[in-house]
Each structure stands twice: as C-alpha cells, then as structure tokens.
C-alpha cells in the first residue's frame, strides 16, 4: 500500500434494533469518524441501517480456508447435537 493511501475499513450495519450488525462491505477512509460518515453515505442511502460499526481491515483475523477441514469437519459426525436426532413418541407434540 502506498503510505499516502487511506486505510481500508470493514463496515458492519445493524439494519434495525434487535438485530445483529452484519458485514456490508468495505471502504477507504482516513480515520474511523470518516469511515462511519462514508459508510452512512454508501451503505444506508435507503434506510438500510440504524447503527454502523467500522473496523480497520488489518485488525480482522480470519481462519484459513486450508484449515477448513480440520476446523469444521469434527462437527460432521455429531448429529446428536441436533434435536431431530432423537426419537420421541408421536403423542409428544411440541418439545
């Protein structure tokens, strides 16, 4: 990156009270305040949000796709973690 470039920020938007912030996209801005203002203009022009988080992209740490197997496969054979695994009499309507 050219030192004269503005850093990259990840933008998260809460679409309405009660819901999680969700990743909306990214943008370049000089600082956090400017990132929030730009995110307002870019991602909420049609009332898509009531709250904005911005995080500098360099601070996001991600799992590696190469490790996806060892990370996520152990959950594959543990169907007993799902409610549908259990046989109950039909008379039990809701449980």
């Amino acid at each position: 990156m050219n030192p004269k470039d503005w850093p990259l920020w990840e933008v998260f938007i809460r679409s309405k009270q009660g819901l999680d912030h969700k990743h909306a996209g990214s943008l370049h801005a000089a600082d956090a305040q400017m990132a929030i203002e730009c995110a307002r203009d870019v991602y909420t022009r049609r009332m898509e949000g009531v709250s904005i988080w911005v995080v500098e992209s360099v601070h996001v740490h991600a799992s590696s796709p190469d490790d996806a197997g060892s990370l996520f496969e152990p959950a594959n054979d543990k169907v007993y973690r799902h409610p549908t695994f259990y046989d109950l009499p039909d008379e039990v309507k809701h449980m």
Partner: protein, 318 residues
C-alpha cells in the same frame, strides 16, 4: 503439496457444484486476472458513467427531476465503490486500479463515450443504458466469485429505479408537445445501437467468453443477453409510441424472439480504441477530478494522524 493440476480440478469441481469462491480460496491465476479485469472495468464504468448525467443535473427541468438525477448519480458513485472493493479482495489495490483507468490500460463501457446532448438523453440513458446494464447485472448476481456476486445483488436492488425514472422521462416527453416527442425519438435513435453494443462483441468474436462461462463468471453469452434486451425493450418503445431505429426489426414467430439488424462493429471497435466522440473528454475529466482532489486526500490523512498523536499524548499524561 498438491500439484497445480489437482488444485485446478478441485477448483472446477467447486464451480460445478455451485460453491462460491471466496477471496482467500485457491484460484487459478487466469481466473483472478479475468475477474480483476472485468470487475475493475465494471467499476470504472460506474464512475465514468456519472459524467454524461452529471452534465444535466444543473439543467434538470424540475426540482423533482433534479433530485432524482442527483440520487441516481450518487448511486453510481456507490456502485463504483462496491465494485472497487470487490476487486481489491483479489489482491490489487485501489491506487493501481485508478491509475490503470487514467493511463488507458483499463477500459470502461464504451457507451459513456457518447455525448448527452438533450434532456431526453437522460431518459434514454436510464431506460436503455441502465436497462442493458441490468440484463448483465442480474446474471452477475449468480457469478461464481462471492464478493462480486454480493456487490451485484446490492447494485441490482438499487438499479431498478434508474431504469424506471428514465422510462418515465421518455414517457412524459412522448406524450408532450410535437417538439418534445421529436426530442424523445431523437434520443432513442442515437442511443439504441450503442446500447445494443454494450453487451460486447458477437459470440463468434468474443475472446473472453468461453473461459468465463466455464468458470461461471458469466452464465449467458453476449448474444443471448443482447437478444433478451431487444425482446424486453421493443414493446416498451411501442407502448409509448416511439420507433426503434432498425428497419430490419421484426418479430420472429418461429424463434419466439425479435430479429434485428446488424450492428456496426467497426464503430464499436473505433470507440473501444479511443476514437469515440467523448473518450478524451471523459478521461480528462476523471484525471482532473482525481488530481484536484489530491490535497483533500492528503489533508484528511494529515488530520487523522494529528488527531491520533494528540490522543496518544493525552493518554500518556493520564
């Protein structure tokens, strides 16, 4: 360590199984390059596309039309940003993308090298140019690269008003005075063929198509999309009493599609190569805007650094 051939097979298997490719996943270099070229070209088109319409904001015939046009041009700026961000996930930085546009290395849609001469052009651009873009973009919502597909979904949601406002302008003019109706017809005459060219060269001559379809970057060919656009648009012209400027245009019962006349591909290539009516002006405007904005970019960064230093000093004292 897997060899390249295995990786390529696994990659293609994912594509075939409709699993999206994400930024950190392995991908063939040619896939990455094709995407950078296509997404950046798309981003540049959004940004350069602000110019022909920006030309009319101060001269819009009513406050309503002016507010709408401003909103549309602002959307296009936003669309450019979504796309630049998607391109950046492929490991190229924004500065390089902008530089490639300014040097002429990267292209943008040739349609924006045509001038917007009258107010009716705002109608024709929204209706035809955005209409053609939407055909392409709806297909791209299902493209195989995740960040590109997500940007396209967002863009498509916003784009539909662009076409409707354009058609509404044409409708209003077509129902107006004879002079206004002539203006609308003249705009259709000038924008029809360049709009059809937006879908790119015919399939028989398109160099990028085959790999793009195999990798599901594209899911329809240039000619298929062009046909779909003609089929959708001709009845819309008829409905408002305008005539599509093509003497060969005719419904083909057997094919279930309109037959249409041959496109002037010499003109297409001339404009692509830089000899359209406005190529020079558009690029000059972009470069000027970028250079005139340099002090703002530098000042914002200096301000951010100063604020950070001050905050650190206060922190150290406390």
């Amino acid at each position: 360590m897997q060899n390249l051939e295995q990786l390529e097979l696994q990659f293609q298997a994912k594509i075939d199984a409709e699993i999206k490719i994400e930024p950190k996943d392995w991908m063939p270099e040619a896939y990455r390059k094709t995407l950078i070229r296509q997404i950046s070209q798309h981003a540049h088109s959004e940004i350069v596309g602000m110019l022909p319409e920006g030309n009319w904001i101060t001269r819009a015939p009513s406050l309503r039309r002016k507010a709408v046009l401003l909103a549309k041009v602002q959307d296009e700026g936003g669309h450019g940003l979504y796309l630049y961000s998607a391109a950046e996930t492929l490991g190229i930085d924004r500065d390089t993308l902008i530089h490639d546009l300014h040097s002429g290395k990267a292209k943008y849609s040739s349609i924006f090298n045509y001038p917007s001469l009258t107010w009716a052009d705002m109608g024709a651009i929204g209706w035809l140019v955005d209409g053609a873009a939407i055909m392409n973009q709806v297909m791209l919502c299902r493209t195989s690269y995740g960040p590109y597909a997500r940007a396209m979904v967002r863009i498509c949601k916003e784009e539909s008003f662009h076409q409707r406002q354009g058609y509404e302008i044409m409708l209003t003019l077509a129902q107006g005075s004879p002079e206004q109706k002539r203006m609308a017809q003249d705009a259709l005459n000038r924008w029809w063929w360049p709009s059809l060219m937006m879908f790119g060269p015919p399939d028989s001559e398109s160099t990028n198509s085959e790999a793009s379809i195999k990798w599901k970057i594209k899911r329809m060919s240039n000619d298929e999309l062009r046909q779909r656009f003609v089929d959708a648009t001709v009845p819309q012209a008829e409905l408002i009493g305008l005539k599509v400027p093509d003497k060969d245009l005719k419904w083909n019962e057997e094919r279930g599609h309109y037959d249409f006349g041959a496109l002037d591909w010499d003109e297409f290539w001339a404009v692509v190569k830089g000899n359209g009516p406005c190529n020079k002006e558009r690029l000059e405007q972009r470069v000027k805007a970028y250079e005139d904005g340099a002090w703002v970019r530098e000042a914002a960064l200096a301000h951010a650094e100063k604020k950070k230093e001050r905050a650190e000093k206060v922190g150290a004292v406390a």
